[in-house]
């Protein structure tokens, strides 16, 4: 009896740490993984925010944009600039998308969508009549275009067709004058560039939930070259409301 008691007392302390550790591990795991997960999610969101704003800035600093796969060079050794060469720098939206995909590293870019839209007030409600439409317009008219690209896992980006559906503009952003994009385009030729970057965030949560979280960030900037007679034009984008991309702060646009 004494032996048993001795043995039980001596052996009874063995494994206690393991048992206690086993008990505490799930708590620690939840704590650590939860912390990491939240940090990663916020980090991804911050990255996405930076991507959206930087992409918007890149578009805002472009004189003209295109959905072409490669940037359009203005001059080469074979075809140097001449007096009659175009002076407008055309920036590839696809190139911007690929840059954004790389910018998302170390997070995987697969499935990242980049919706880039431009809204310009073509003419105001007091616009003068034109030869084709000699009546006053009751409300302002807008020139709008959008290009939505999706990044693949390898960082490449799709090139949308000009007739593709739109993400930003389909949401009727011009409904009111106090909120939405129209609140930033008050006068003819005013412009806002909207960039909406989204990425499916799986993380560790994705192991347990069927539909991963989608992080979305939106940036609003104004075209840097906005002038009373000029608007940002896109070749190959989906034109939403106007066949031509011409504005005039003097309200004499002939669209």
């Amino acid at each position: 009896m004494r032996k048993f008691r001795f043995s039980r007392g001596k052996l009874g302390r063995r494994g206690i740490a393991a048992v206690e550790f086993a008990i505490i591990v799930p708590v620690l795991l939840v704590l650590f993984m939860g912390t990491i997960e939240m940090l990663t999610a916020y980090r991804t969101e911050a990255k996405l925010n930076a991507i959206a704003f930087n992409v918007a800035q890149m578009v805002a600093l472009a004189q003209s944009v295109s959905t072409a796969n490669a940037p359009i060079a203005n001059a080469t050794a074979a075809t140097p600039l001449t007096a009659d060469s175009p002076t407008v720098q055309v920036v590839s939206l696809n190139d911007i998308c690929r840059g954004a995909a790389k910018g998302l590293a170390p997070f995987p870019p697969g499935g990242m969508t980049l919706a880039i839209a431009s809204i310009t007030e073509e003419q105001g409600p007091t616009a003068q009549p034109t030869s084709g439409n000699p009546a006053y317009a009751a409300t302002p008219t807008y020139d709008e275009w959008e290009s939505d690209s999706t990044a693949a896992a390898d960082g490449s980006c799709s090139t949308p067709s000009p007739s593709a559906t739109t993400t930003i503009l389909s949401g009727s952003p011009l409904t009111t004058a106090t909120t939405g994009a129209s609140s930033m385009v008050l006068n003819p030729c005013d412009n806002v560039i909207i960039v909406q970057a989204s990425v499916p965030y799986a993380g560790l949560i994705g192991l347990f939930i069927k539909h991963p979280l989608t992080l979305t960030q939106t940036a609003y900037v104004r075209w840097a070259y906005t002038l009373p007679t000029t608007e940002l034009q896109c070749t190959g984008c989906t034109l939403v409301s106007a066949p031509t991309q011409v504005c005039n702060a003097d309200n004499t646009s002939n669209n």
């Binding site: 008990i23 004189q63 007096a83 000699p134 609140s183 005013d190 011409v246």
Partner: protein
């Protein structure tokens, strides 16, 4: 007892891990919650910074374009709201603080929203607009909240914007091919009106010096090219529009900041240079020859005077190239007038003839209330060259000086006193009947000296001794500027060509006696808007209207001109005020008298095709006055503005414009003001001398320019420049509104 329990607890080894974990749980939770909340804070701060950045940039850009501080404030605020709306619900954002600074004038800055007239310390130096957006937000901490409930976030951003540029290349200039048939060789050029150091205010009294690249530009401006160009410049800083030789539209490049005006320069080789000729050869008609001295003993001879004995040896046209053989029977002597000068000018400072009468005018001077002239246009008189050509013929030295101008007397229809009275020029180069009418120029009053010293004996012609010390030749004549518009007391322009002529009644002693308030008649310059859809010729240049109808108020003041293109279908510029049906003769038959053409609005024939209701009623109650051109019956050959606008300058914003403006108590007229004392707005009044190319499609303008000479009482036949100018399409040459400088 307690001590015993503590000792027992310390000796106890069981559940040590749990105890340790229990102890560690607190710092672990603190660390984890802090990490999570710091991430939330960082993310929210990033978004807040993006919101203020975007708001600042949008506000600066909006201000730059709209010139409205209210729009800048609203756009900035709205942009912040849109971006800030993405912040999660646990972040409470306060309304942003938006501070505006603008160093431009009242027009550029706008006046509704308050703004500072001096830049903030955060603004980039020398910019025009500066927008600072500051925002704060309170973030409610989550796990960390039990220790620190909230975190205050703040972000600030400053956007500094200067004026950007819009490039205009000469290759984009589309100009009409109409031009005057003056004996002069003339050209019209466009240039960017220089801006002040801050880049906000045009200096209409300044005209840039033609750079070295202008030496290769078409037309007479090449003779005024300087020897240097600023670094980085690779083209002439004037755009060639058209010249009297029929050339149009190429050469030169200018860049414009937003709302920087374009003005026009008229360059004129005064005085029948190669009259009826397209070459630059200068012919000499009259010479002074001396065989005794290079400074005296001169006698007038016809050009080509043959030295004895006869028959002569005929040398080349220019005597300096002639080397007769010794003992030759004779030589024809010719003089040589200076380049560009067939009808000379004198220096207004000292009255001496200048060697170059290449005159340059600026349309922009009209904006400042000056006639559209420039410094080189002075009193036009024939003169004797100071250069002496020396020839030795048969052992005798001949000193030859040319009497200029030197267009041939024969074979021309010019009835010029210099040719009919040139004998008077011998010993008295300022003969009766000489053209002493010149134009005024900025700062001329301060610099000019008395001309009377150089016109001592010409009272008969009415040009002399108005005042021995204060004569200005001529004072304030001819500028089509309301500030200088003074009623001509009913003087009727010449019936021969009212638009271009001066009234002979102006050339009289009474004219001189009025000093600064002479009679005057004609306008020197008219820049008439043609809209964005004028008919074009095969070269794409806007057509000069065949004539204009006038819109007049009940008092007969002209408030607008409506161009008419006979026999052409076109978009009416002033819809609602014109019936564009033409009869067989090419004229509008509907309105024949002003009294029957009160505009009653509502319906017009638009574009010669469809009757269209039109809501623009700004001319309701005014009168449409059909102005049959002077060349009635020849629909395509007039191309002049209405006759009586030539002596009745108008300003569309100020109905009464022909009374001039002289402030009370002042002895001189005010510059830069309309007749009623209001400041001249060049943008609203492009006919005053400058235009702003801000329309899309680009706007066209008709240019009518008279260098203030006339064949009526002047010595030469002037019918100067008529052409059109079309702004470039800005979308293809835009180099941007100026990138923002973001800080903060």
């Amino acid at each position: 007892m307690l001590v015993s329990l503590i000792r027992k607890f310390l000796r106890e080894r069981r559940a040590a891990t749990a105890v340790a974990m229990a102890i560690l749980t607190v710092p672990l939770l603190i660390a984890a919650s802090a990490a999570v909340d710091f991430a939330r804070i960082a993310s929210a701060r990033t978004l807040l910074q993006a919101a203020v950045d975007g708001a600042a940039v949008a506000g600066g850009g909006e201000w730059q374009m709209s010139e409205s501080s209210t729009s800048a404030y609203n756009v900035s605020s709205n942009e912040f709201s849109n971006t800030g709306a993405q912040l999660p619900s646990f972040v409470e954002i306060s309304p942003p603080t938006i501070k505006l600074a603008c160093t431009g004038n009242a027009t550029q800055c706008g006046s509704s929203a308050p703004y500072s007239t001096t830049l903030f310390t955060t603004c980039a130096a020398g910019v025009e607009y500066c927008v600072t957006v500051s925002a704060t937000a309170i973030l409610k901490n989550s796990l960390f909240g039990w220790l620190i409930p909230t975190t205050l976030l703040s972000a600030s951003s400053t956007d500094s914007v200067g004026f950007g540029t819009t490039g205009f290349s000469g290759r984009n200039i589309s100009s009409g091919r109409e031009f005057g048939s003056a004996g002069d060789i003339s050209g019209i050029y466009a240039y960017a009106v220089p801006m002040d150091a801050a880049g906000g205010t045009p200096n209409y009294n300044e005209m840039p010096t033609a750079n070295s690249y202008c030496a290769n530009i078409t037309g007479p401006l090449q003779h005024l090219a300087s020897s240097t160009s600023p670094a980085g410049v690779t083209a002439c800083n004037f755009l060639f529009v058209a010249d009297s030789l029929g050339d149009t539209g190429n050469g030169g490049a200018i860049s414009l900041k937003p709302n920087q005006p374009i003005a026009f320069s008229f360059v004129n080789e005064t005085g029948a240079n190669g009259y009826h000729s397209t070459e630059s050869t200068h012919y000499t008609d009259n010479i002074l020859v001396s065989t005794t001295s290079s400074s005296g003993g001169f006698t007038y001879y016809p050009d080509g005077y043959l030295t004895p004995p006869t028959p002569p040896v005929i040398c080349g046209r220019h005597q300096r190239d002639c080397t007769p053989s010794p003992g030759s029977p004779g030589t024809a002597l010719y003089g040589q007038c200076p380049n560009h000068t067939l009808y000379g000018s004198i220096d207004y400072n000292n009255g001496t003839p200048v060697t170059d009468s290449l005159n340059q005018y600026s349309s922009a001077y009209e904006v400042a209330g000056e006639p559209p002239t420039y410094e080189t246009n002075h009193v036009l008189v024939p003169f004797v060259t100071t250069q002496v050509v020396t020839q030795n013929v048969g052992g005798t030295t001949y000193y030859v000086k040319a009497v200029c101008p030197n267009y041939p007397r024969s074979g021309t229809s010019i009835n010029a006193p210099v040719s009919t009275n040139y004998s008077n020029t011998v010993g008295n180069q300022f003969a009766a009947g000489m053209n002493t009418f010149s134009t005024w120029f900025p700062t001329g009053l301060a610099n000019q000296v008395a001309f009377t010293d150089y016109f001592p004996n010409n009272a008969a012609c009415g040009i002399d001794d108005c005042s021995p010390t204060t004569d200005i030749f001529p004072p304030a004549i001819g500028g089509c500027s309301p500030a200088r518009s003074i009623n001509d007391n009913g003087v009727t322009p010449s019936s021969a060509d009212p638009w271009w002529n001066w009234s002979p009644s102006n050339i009289s002693p009474s004219y001189c006696a009025q000093e600064q308030a002479p009679k005057y008649s004609d306008c020197a310059l008219l820049i008439q808007p043609l809209g964005t859809n004028p008919p074009t010729d095969t070269n794409g240049g806007a057509l000069v209207p065949d004539y204009y109808n006038t819109i007049e108020d009940g008092s007969g003041n002209i408030i607008a001109l409506d161009p008419v293109y006979d026999g052409t279908t076109y978009t009416d510029l002033l819809t609602g005020v014109q019936i564009n049906n033409t009869d067989a003769a090419g004229y509008t038959p509907t309105y024949t008298t002003p009294s029957s053409s009160l505009i009653t609005n509502a319906t017009t024939i638009h574009g010669d095709s469809t009757a269209t209701p039109y809501a623009n009623t700004q001319y309701v109650g005014d009168y449409l006055v059909v102005q049959i051109p002077s060349t009635n019956g020849v629909p395509t050959s007039d191309h002049n503005p209405p006759l009586y606008t030539s002596h009745k300058c108008y300003d569309s914003s100020v109905a009464v414009v022909d009374k001039g403006y002289r402030p009370a108590g002042s002895s001189v007229d005010a510059l830069g003001y309309n007749a009623d004392g209001t400041a001249i707005d060049p943008v609203a009044n492009p006919q005053l001398g400058a235009v702003v190319c801000n329309k899309n499609p680009p706007a066209s303008y008709a240019l009518y320019w008279n260098d203030l000479g006339t064949y009526q009482a002047d010595d030469l036949g002037y019918w100067n420049a008529v052409t059109t100018f079309t702004c470039s399409a800005p979308a293809t040459t835009n180099t941007g509104g100026g990138a923002s400088l973001l800080s903060g």
